[in-house]
């Protein structure tokens, strides 16, 4: 949704991921960009260049934090020291909302450094939702959870991925960071219709969207973030925007990163679909009035 409780009632437009190869360009040229998404873990440090750059960016731009290590689905309790560090960063950036993934990645204090898929069960959903609530209460900022792309599926699952996502966010009363590319990648890897996914998630909880590129292998798709967005993903984005409204959207490009202008140009392609969604919304409103 454009502005809702899950994104702190902020109506952000098209954002880009803040990445090291673009630091100098951004700091020197100060290009127009609605907002930047930062990887929280890159800035959960005590000092040095990362924080100096961040502070300079914060003087000019709006920043939203996106994390890769909260592991809401891990059975380990949230690490208090980790959360304290994260909260310090939340205060520094004044992020209106914070996102991380619906996945697990550590057990018994050992880390995989990956976003591992969950078994889609009611017990897993309950535990995950509890952890999201714990984190939100500690950080005092709205949370959006992102659907991950996945390559494995489990005998233990009791529901579809979108049912699991819905179960978790309803239980946690949190938002969704809807990654349209991840839905597409997983739909190919697990043979489901991505439009079923989009149609079934609670649209009013979507606080942000991600778009990205992926790579096709012989037997599966891999979420590589090293390409422009592919046409089927744009089509899904178009559909998602019509369902959820014009929502803060971010283009992820994390490998083989081209120039800032090229990445920005790719992100701005989303405007075509945003305009379409706005028109659809206007005619819907006009019809309702008539």
């Amino acid at each position: 949704m454009p502005a809702n409780e899950f994104n702190g009632y902020h109506d952000y437009g098209l954002g880009l991921g803040l990445r090291v190869p673009h630091y100098n360009h951004i700091l020197e040229q100060k290009p127009v960009c609605d907002w930047f998404e930062i990887i929280s873990e890159s800035f959960m440090v005590d000092g040095g260049r990362p924080l100096e750059v961040l502070d300079e960016i914060l003087e000019q731009y709006r920043v939203v934090q996106h994390g890769v290590s909260l592991y809401f689905g891990s059975t380990d309790k949230p690490d208090r020291a980790h959360l304290k560090r994260l909260k310090a960063l939340v205060k520094r950036t004044n992020t209106p909302w914070l996102s991380d993934h619906l996945c697990w990645g550590s057990v018994d204090g050992t880390y995989s450094h990956d976003l591992l898929p969950m078994p889609y069960t009611f017990a897993s959903a309950k535990r995950t939702a509890e952890k999201i609530k714990m984190v939100r209460d500690f950080l005092e900022v709205p949370i959006c959870v992102e659907n991950v792309s996945s390559y494995a599926a489990f005998h233990q699952s009791e529901m579809t991925e979108w049912e699991f996502l819905s179960e978790v966010v309803e239980r946690a009363d949190c938002g969704i960071l809807l990654d349209v590319n991840n839905i597409y990648v997983s739909s190919k890897n697990h043979d489901f219709d991505p439009y079923d996914y989009l149609n079934e998630v609670p649209h009013h909880r979507v606080g942000q969207m991600h778009i990205a590129g992926h790579t096709k292998f012989e037997k599966y798709l891999l979420d590589t973030h090293d390409h422009p967005v592919l046409d089927p993903v744009w089509k899904l984005y178009d559909h998602a925007t019509k369902l959820c409204g014009v929502t803060a959207t971010l283009l992820e490009w994390d490998d083989k990163i081209p120039s800032f202008d090229e990445v920005h140009h790719e992100a701005l392609k989303a405007n075509e679909f945003i305009d379409g969604a706005k028109k659809a919304q206007q005619s819907k409103t006009a019809d309702a009035r008539a």
Binding site: R19, V20, I39, E41, S42, M44, V45, D46, G47, G48, R49, P50, L51, E52, S69, S74, T75, D79, H82, W104, S106, V107, D108, G109, T110, Y111, S112, H113, D114, L116, P119, T121, A123, S124, R127, Y151, A152, A153, F154, H155, Q156, N189, H190, D191, K219, Y220, L222
Partner: protein, 309 residues
């Protein structure tokens, strides 16, 4: 070195059939974590045999489903491969000096063994090398006959990683010095500053490698994976020479500075909370007042001092 993972009970031999509780979920995750982090087999494929002699597909098959294109093992293999590629790449990028000391083959064998015996206990890949020096010293065969040099190089490279994003506190000014008698001045070193005592001059070796195109800059941020070129000519390993080093950050860049034993002792005393007269005394009786003043002026200029909290 204690290499047993704390709080890591033996993983289950099969996944629970249903996940009805947090305990079931934990058991599921323990088994899958084991499958994902096991060393790869030939051809970077998932090993066909499990630790207890069963077929991997029998164990993995208790949780990972086939589809019409891939078996459950093949699907999990994607994660198994990504785990190793990601962690090995991270260490490879962060430890160019250690690679040069050991050569590629020994280096790769060392870090694979290290990751198996000392798996990551941190949320960030940045911390992966944090226990490698200790591991090398405790497992000398893996790096023989270059164990001491390898351990020194890791200590040096890890100190750069720590220094790169370590904290900096407000720099102590001449006014702070003027306002307080030296015996009462509570001074400290900047947290980002690292002091090292080494058996080998790894700083000179690292500089020689850098001049040969081995490495352009310290690669130690989460996002700073840079392309690494090959050395243009072989740089000889250094001979032992007791070396005292300060690794520090100045205006965003990393530097290392050779220290004399006396100046190392003086800085160490300050870090330990000694007063300035005590630190000067720690430097030893043979150090002249002129020399101490010269050092101190230089360190003040570099912003190495702050007031103790």
């Amino acid at each position: 070195m204690a290499q047993k993972k704390p709080n890591s009970p033996k993983p289950p031999t099969r996944a629970p059939e249903r996940i009805r509780s947090n305990r079931d979920l934990r058991e599921f995750q323990r088994l899958m974590m084991q499958a994902v982090t096991r060393p790869l087999g030939p051809g970077d494929r998932m090993k066909r045999t499990w630790e207890d002699g069963r077929a991997t597909k029998e164990v993995v098959g208790t949780f990972s489903r086939d589809n019409d294109r891939m078996s459950g093992v093949e699907r999990l293999e994607i994660y198994n491969r990504m785990y190793w590629f990601r962690t090995l790449d991270s260490l490879y990028e962060d430890l160019p000096g250690l690679r040069a000391v050991l050569g590629e083959r020994v280096f790769m064998r060392l870090i694979e063994t290290y990751l198996v015996k000392v798996p990551s206990r941190s949320y960030t890949l940045r911390d992966l090398p944090s226990r490698l020096e200790e591991f090398i010293r405790a497992n000398r065969k893996l790096t023989a006959p270059h164990t001491s040099l390898a351990a020194d190089m890791v200590a040096f490279e890890w100190s750069q990683i720590e220094c790169f994003d370590g904290a900096t506190r407000p720099i102590m000014t001449p006014n702070d010095l003027a306002d307080t008698p030296p015996a009462k001045l509570k001074m400290d070193l900047q947290p980002q500053l690292r002091l090292l005592v080494l058996r080998y001059p790894v700083d000179d070796y690292a500089m020689a490698l850098k001049e040969n195109g081995m490495r352009a800059e310290a690669s130690n941020a989460v996002e700073s994976a840079s392309a690494t070129s090959r050395p243009t000519k072989r740089v000889r390993r250094p001979k032992p020479k007791r070396t005292y080093l300060a690794v520090h950050r100045h205006e965003g860049s990393l530097y290392f500075k050779s220290l004399e034993l006396a100046s190392y002792r003086m800085l160490t005393a300050i870090r330990e909370g000694k007063t300035l007269p005590q630190a000067v005394a720690a430097a030893g009786p043979r150090v002249s007042a002129t020399k101490v003043q010269e050092w101190f002026t230089n360190w003040m200029h570099l912003g190495w001092f702050c007031l103790r909290k």
